[in-house]
Amino acid sequence: MAESAALTRPWPRRRFLAALGAVAAVPAAAQFRVEIAGVGATQVPVVVADFRGEAVAGVALAAIVRADLQRSGLFRASPADQPLDETSRLDLGDWRSRGADAVVGGSVTRLADGRFDVRFRLWDAVRNQELLGQSKLVLGADLRLAAHRVADEIHEKLTGERGVYATRIAYVVRAGRRFTLHVTDADGEGGQVALASPEPIISPAWSPDGRRLAYVSFESQKAVVWVQDLGTGQRRMVASFRGSNSAPAWSPDGERLAVTLSQDGLSQIYTMPAAGGAPVRLMRSSGIDTEAVWAPDGRSLYFVSDRGGGPQVYRVAASGSPVERITFDGSYNVSPAISPDGSLLAYVTRRAGAFKLMTLELSGGSPQALTDTQHDESPSFAPNGRLLVYATRAQGSDVLMTTTLDGRIKTRLLSSGADMREPAWGPFGR
């Protein structure tokens, strides 16, 4: 409630301070917490000792690493009961007998040039061997990021799959008549505001290099597509044609955007250079075509069309034909998202008045429901394809959640009471 309370103050006189306040308030207010633990899931017990020197550095590195591993549902992470760092000589047999499968020790040191040296070592207590030892030199502002990268290294070494702890999630917050586009670490913390506006913002989409967001802003009293560089704040209006301009999606090579334009009288899908330029109509239909997303190989796009009556998900070749219908169950299927390997479709279906997050194997399969909530929206895949983030409603507010693809482990982004929506999971890079 702290954030919304702060925003109900008469802020117009002090707008700038309020914006800064919102930036500062978010990290403390938001965090993804595990809500439903997987039944019978085996979790690898990992001990992560507090990093030597982290109190001086001012960032609780080991706590971030432990929380990351814990949140994946794959690990049970705990602190060490004795001081430990990457130089320690461990009796791994002893750790094993005390229930640890893996042990992590590390340190952080401030260097003369102001950067920090984050070092850690990962030991396998079961096989009695060292698995990993690394040093990362980072700026003070990137210490949280360094902790997430340490967690990613541990995750990959222990599971063989890339972790997504160092990735980011963009989403939109509405508090009264104020709309903010947020970018947070994948754990929901370290949140920063990319755009604050008195008008709605929807449909953020990450560039493949993770440095820019395309989104739709209504600041000019109509829907216009913008692209903003996150580091510099520089932004460019890329689609502001007659009528509405919306639903931006990046091509996998980052060169083009697919957008929905109504300049010819119907909402239709076009592609255009990501830096702005002439739009090219992808295909022609007699109904609404929108919500395009590219397949990861760039050869086709998935989109929503009501050409057959109600809205359904279709696929079209990047050349504009042929077009093929993908969803058949139910009369309302929208908001397609494609897994990074191109094999799985996530979307939202309306069923008996409820809106449910579904997945569908594109090679053939039946739709699978992943949630027991009623107002699911906007699914987006994590770049390793193992998790989805989506928006839903709980206790009267719009909230963000993540789920594993089997629906067993969910986390919820704890908020300060403001409505959160339109999540988009960023790529590995930044």
Partner: protein, 194 residues
């Protein structure tokens, strides 16, 4: 060390090198448990840091930085306030419908007459949808409603350039709430002076 084949090590090394490039932070492998880096408490000091030797001082761009753009402080235009003209300016639609009901014909005729009498006058038709379902699909639904109203004005003789059909989807509800009454009050198209 362990018994992983050499090719795997090479691959791992390549991956690590790749990660370093991508990450922009310098990551090095620790071979043996070595002495911890020397902690430097004093600021300043021209001497190079204990580790790295990258030369680049604290200069560099944090990869965690996001610059805030605040449109409120830039004085973005507020909601367009409607001035007095034909008093009725809202067309309501049935669920999942884009059909303009007969009861709005007189009102649209009145707006068309004003626009035709003043060819320099411009209006926006803002379409809206109720809150249920996808925001982008609702934006397209609102657009379809706005286009229906714009087309009917054009059929009455209004110039195409005098009218722009736009949509706010579900983003600007006229009635708050999640019941049939609220939804019905939000499925609409509004005529606004430009």
């Amino acid at each position: 060390m362990n018994k992983q084949p050499r090719t795997l090590w090479t691959l791992a090394a390549t991956l690590v090198a790749f990660t370093v490039v991508l990450a922009g932070c310098e990551t090095t492998q620790l071979d043996e448990p070595t002495a911890a880096p020397v902690e430097t408490r004093a600021a300043g000091g021209a001497g190079a840091g204990a580790a790295g030797g990258a030369g680049a001082a604290a200069a560099g761009t944090p990869q965690s930085g996001v610059t805030t753009v605040d449109l409120a402080s830039q004085g973005a235009a507020g909601a367009g306030a409607a001035t007095a003209a034909p008093s009725q300016r809202i067309v309501y639609f049935d669920f999942d419908s884009f059909v303009i009901k007969d009861e709005y014909k007189v009102m649209l005729d009145g707006h068309a007459k004003v626009l035709m009498a003043n060819r320099g006058k411009r209006m926006a038709v803002e379409g809206h949808a109720d809150e249920r379902g996808s925001r982008e699909y609702n934006l397209a639904l609102g657009q379809k409603r706005a286009e229906a109203v714009a087309r009917s004005l054009q059929l009455l003789g209004v110039g195409e350039q005098q009218i722009e059909a736009v949509s706010f989807g579900e983003e600007r509800p006229a009635v708050q709430g999640s019941d049939e009454a609220a939804w019905a009050g939000n499925r609409r198209a509004e005529l606004k002076d430009r």
